[in-house]
Point group: C2
Chain length 222, copies 2
């Protein structure tokens, strides 16, 4: 029996590439490469800082990784950096999110976001996407000052909801995050939208879904 369903935010509920895609006129043909490297470095910096014990909030990491990506692609104008960071605060929400959340809530399932992002950024994201009311909790790694997939991050869910691990469903489009949550002990769904991605070759048991309608069907047994 699933008591609560926990979602990753960046990449899972919100399209991390929607920021750069709004600036194609400035970034030109490079826009998707800038965005991909920005995202790659953003994650790398969370892992590297966690291992070095040099935590800074995710907003800083997002700015640092964008700085790196813009340097690689030769964009020196600092104004584009600020405009991209502003756009990152109101990322597009994926279309299948609201109906999935409403189904879960209608069936008495508790819902939460568990994210690397700061609480302030998470609030701005859910507000701008008009999905704030569907969540019982917004949970940020800032409370433990270390990033996913460290187990203490996933343990925040247990602390908030007080339910056994096996009664928690966790959903992430990030394969490594799904695997981190599986290693912690959650019942995990890897959201591989459009079956586009290859699963990371890391140990962990999880189910794969290709959209969020499949999630509610799985959890609610529909």
């Amino acid at each position: 029996m699933i008591a609560c369903c926990v979602f990753d935010a960046y990449g899972t509920l919100f399209d991390v590439h929607s920021a750069a895609s709004k600036f194609q006129s400035i970034l030109g043909n490079h826009y998707s490469s800038v965005s991909a490297l920005w995202r790659q470095k953003q994650l790398e910096y969370t892992w590297l800082r966690s291992l070095m014990g040099r935590y800074v909030p995710f907003d800083q990491i997002t700015a640092d990784s964008l700085e790196y990506s813009l340097q690689v692609f030769g964009f020196q104008d600092q104004s584009i950096k600020q405009r991209l960071l502003d756009a990152y605060k109101t990322l597009d929400c994926f279309q299948d999110v609201p109906s999935c959340l409403s189904q879960l809530k209608a069936n008495g399932i508790h819902t939460a976001i568990l994210s690397n992002g700061t609480l302030g950024s998470l609030k701005t994201l859910v507000d701008s996407a008009n999905i704030a009311d569907w969540f019982d909790q917004l949970i940020s790694v800032s409370q433990v000052q270390i990033y996913k997939p460290h187990p203490s991050v996933y343990d925040l869910v247990i602390q908030k909801f007080g339910v056994p691990k096996e009664n928690v469903a966790f959903v992430s489009s990030n394969s490594w995050d799904a695997i981190g949550a599986a290693n912690f002990g959650f019942r995990v769904f890897w959201l591989n939208r459009n079956e586009k991605n290859v699963a990371d070759v890391l140990p962990g048991e999880y189910s794969t879904i290709s959209n969020l309608s499949q999630l509610s069907a799985n959890i609610l047994g529909g």
Copy 2:
């Protein structure tokens, strides 16, 4: 006063892309992309496994990350995987390595490799490149079962040589490794060969060199 000089192995002394470059006839135009993704995932898996507390030896990670990369590029033949892994055991050594090592040794500087690699793989690498005799120590993370840039990895150097951190020179072509060593307290040289790479936007003080001749000049004050 530098008492010992410690080198990263993969990417610094040995060209990690020399394995895939030998199989251009099989991998086709994709060979450099296969190699780049292999390397990227190899590093990601060291960080992710370290954070999850799921250490396996680097040889396993090298195989897993290659598996991922070959899947992404649609190579399903398992024989190419084994041939690439075999080639990875005898990576090409960069040309400026032997003369740098001989200069350091001639001046009484102790030398070591500190690597994510297993001791067995490190031995095979230095033997096949004929540079084994130049090293006083080969040091593997396998002793602490966690990967760079965790501080306990860099601390292995102190345990082996018994010298203060500030008397240790550390050289890596991997910007994040240089930064990890700088955070630990070594005097660090980031080897940015041909000034091709952009420095990671992470905190840490280090000098930048573009070849290993500049290293001996810096350390020996030549």
